[in-house]
């Protein structure tokens, strides 16, 4: 089974891109499954089911979604192996710009959209900078020049990545993306021993453990203070 991790800021069109891409994968006779990670709520699993794709979802709730992802990906892979998939796609929203969900040796895709502003590629951390493939969406509604400028900004923070434009509504570009997702000899049987490409954002303070009161005396553990300068 091949594993692909897809990540990207909320509402860029990850699910639409994956759904369109699976159409091409299925027509090659491949059996594809999806695991959707989200924070509080998602009904994207219904969209996948409607398209006849086996799907599981995981909601991180009050935990850091990134940490939740990495603590569960091994079980997810076991589930996929049990289902005999040719390709398992994990989809997770990068909810902070420091999100770092990719695993060494596992194909990593970052989805971002043209509407997010040209400063965005610079602001996103490992989720964009260490991806193997960057998919840019919503190109049909901005000018050619803006598409070119946006792609060049992405290139300047991640020159090694393949950059593809995909339209999640019409599916334009999704066939092309599908050709990069499955490789005959990229099979995995376990994630044991694999490592993350980057460490994840850290957190361990009293608020992690359920503290709600505000004030210095309640703050313990990994706490950092903003520098507001001197008055």
């Amino acid at each position: 089974m091949n594993l692909v991790t897809v990540s990207g800021p909320p509402s860029v069109g990850k699910t639409s891109v994956i759904l369109k891409t699976i159409i091409s994968l299925k027509s090659r006779g491949l059996k594809v499954g999806v695991v959707k990670f989200d924070c509080l709520y998602t009904d994207d699993d219904v969209l996948y089911e409607k398209a006849g794709i086996e799907v599981r979802k995981g909601l991180s709730g009050g935990l850091c979604p990134d940490h939740y992802f990495v603590s569960n990906i091994e079980e997810v892979v076991d589930w996929g192996l049990g289902k005999d998939f040719d390709l398992l796609i994990s989809e997770s929203a990068g909810l902070c710009n420091r999100c770092s969900p990719y695993i060494n040796g596992i194909n990593a895709i970052c989805v971002i959209d043209n509407l997010s502003g040209i400063g965005t590629p610079k602001k996103i951390g490992p989720m964009l900078k260490s991806a193997d493939i960057v998919v840019i969406t919503k190109g049909d509604i901005v000018s050619q020049a803006e598409r070119e400028v946006f792609a060049s900004r992405v290139h300047s923070v991640n020159p090694k990545a393949v950059i593809l434009h995909v339209n999640g509504l019409t599916g334009q570009g999704s066939f092309e993306l599908s050709t990069l997702l499955y490789k005959e000899n990229d099979h995995i049987t376990s994630l044991k021993g694999k490592t993350l490409r980057f460490s994840m954002p850290a957190a361990l303070c009293s608020y992690c453990l359920g503290e709600t009161r505000i004030g210095e005396s309640y703050q313990m553990g990994n706490v950092r203070k903003i520098d507001l300068g001197k008055n």
């Binding site: 060049s152 300047s156 092309e176 050709t179």
Partner: protein, 339 residues
């Protein structure tokens, strides 16, 4: 310029890297490493002075940064040294339609400076045809078509390079979304294309855009505040002059506020191959030929007939009349006769 070596990049001063590869400044900036204040240090020294927490916060590692820097410099050198592939012709070799029936033509070659229209109902396969061209299909897409560039099998770079794409697109639904003035916007686009003579090229684009729309705009106007006609004119002039793509696909151009004939002339005068997906008779007949798409495949390729050429002359006259009525209305005049 010599290719960078990863080990060397780590030990020479950052200032030396920038002297040798001035364009690398963008890379340092976009990756959050202040090059200017660290010119005297090597990357090894720089990374040894910053503390672990900062590295962790910014998610930077020396290994990853240096690897990417090496790649960036290598790609930029090859981009700058490359005078660009001149695309003189595009050839489409037949595949099959949605139900597998073979396409009924031997080959279709479109030369630069040529306009060809694409007609057919929505969902008939126009987007797939375009995608085949864009991906430089080699009998490896759902239609089984193949694409030749200059009569040869195309370079792989057309698929994977971020700076060189075969097809640029202009469509009705496109808007400017950036919060910039016309001048800043063009400056940014020229910069991303590594153009050295920016001033002249920007002036040329503004002149051409004004020529197309007839409604002159100020270069300090925010691009989002341009009228429909002005936006379209600017998009077309910018794509003709600044886009690196040799093939332009136009998905309809609205009639209002822009001289479409001049727009097409501008595109072909810049050496582009122009494909227009349209059902507007004036646009469809502006090409010498049209591709008819049906059921996912190219059904036929029609040359304009003499009748069609004289129809085009007539409808162009009608169009001029409508444009002149529109102009009068805009100026607050009464309409008296159609002249």
């Amino acid at each position: 310029m010599a290719l960078p070596v990863k080990h060397e990049l780590s030990v020479i001063k950052i200032g030396q890297i920038l002297t040798r590869y001035p364009f690398a400044a963008t890379f340092f900036e976009n990756n959050g490493i202040p090059a200017d204040s660290n010119k005297e240090k090597s990357l090894d020294e720089y990374f040894s002075t910053i503390d672990e927490t900062y590295k962790e916060d910014m998610a930077i590692s020396q290994e990853h940064f240096t690897g990417q820097l090496e790649e960036y410099i290598t790609q930029m050198l090859s981009f700058l040294g490359d005078t660009g592939t001149k695309v003189d012709s595009l050839t489409i070799l037949p595949g099959h339609g949605k139900t597998g029936e073979p396409e009924n033509f031997s080959h279709l070659t479109i030369k630069k400076n040529e306009i060809i229209s694409i007609v057919g109902p929505t969902g008939s396969g126009k987007s797939r045809l375009l995608a085949d061209i864009e991906w430089a299909a080699q009998n490896d897409t759902p239609t089984g078509r193949s694409i030749l560039i200059n009569n040869e099998q195309p370079d792989q770079k057309w698929r994977y390079s971020s700076s060189e794409k075969l097809v640029a697109q202009l469509s009705q639904n496109m808007n400017f979304v950036m919060d910039l003035s016309v001048h800043e916007f063009l400056e940014l686009h020229a910069e991303s294309r590594m153009i050295s003579d920016r001033k002249n090229i920007i002036m040329k684009i503004i002149d051409q855009a004004n020529h197309l729309s007839g409604e002159t705009f100020d270069t300090e106007t925010p691009i989002t505040a341009l009228s429909g006609g002005q936006s379209r004119a600017l998009m077309i002039a910018d794509t003709a002059i600044l886009s690196s793509s040799p093939i332009i696909l136009i998905d309809e151009i609205e009639n209002a506020g822009i001289d479409r004939k001049k727009a097409l002339e501008l595109l072909i005068s810049e050496g582009k191959i122009v494909l227009i997906a349209t059902h507007d008779p004036i646009l469809a007949l502006m090409g010498n030929r049209r591709i008819v798409i049906k059921n996912g495949g190219i059904e036929k390729i029609i040359e304009n007939t003499d009748d069609e050429r004289s129809i085009l002359t007539e409808i162009e006259i009608m169009d001029k009349k409508i444009q002149s009525l529109r102009r009068k209305l805009r100026n607050g005049e009464h309409l008296t006769t159609i002249d």
